[in-house]
Subunit: 91 residues, 2 copies
């Protein structure tokens, strides 16, 4: 089912690049607790898309697609939790 060849390594490099670009946002939000710019409905739409990508990755046997979207889902869940936790405090 899974094929660890050049193409899959290419996909994993792509996954690392696109995911690592998203990580500083999460770190910044975690440190500053400034969630005013985050839209909760937007992140729920994003998360539902990521979950469908994981399903797509499983169906097509793509480790890169699964890995990228599992990691990004984790980061988005962190942002959603932070938004719910700190979203009520207006500064």
């Amino acid at each position: 089912m899974f094929d660890f060849d050049f193409i899959e390594i290419l996909g994993l490099v792509a996954a690392v690049l696109t995911t690592s670009a998203f990580a500083p946002q999460v770190y910044h939000t975690y440190k500053t607790k400034d969630v005013s710019g985050l839209s909760l409905p937007m992140y729920f739409i994003f998360l539902s898309g990521l979950l469908l990508w994981i399903l797509y990755g499983v169906q097509t046997g793509s480790i890169a697609v699964i890995a990228a979207n599992v990691v990004t889902s984790g980061l988005v869940i962190v942002l959603i939790v932070l938004k719910i936790k700190y979203g009520k405090t207006r500064s």
Copy 2:
């Protein structure tokens, strides 16, 4: 090479959801011209990842992966252009 079955439709729905979650950010930046929160190096890393995803999509014959990353690349290029154009003005 391309197979328009249920799995590919699942991937395209995933693509629409994750891409549409990114679009409001681009629209917001375009309208406000506020690029202070955008990191140019981060967007270049993100763009290089997206280009590898497109290559991965072509190699694996995945229309969903190609479509999602072509559209997102276009949006990221808009953000990079806006950052370069308005980034020098500090408010």
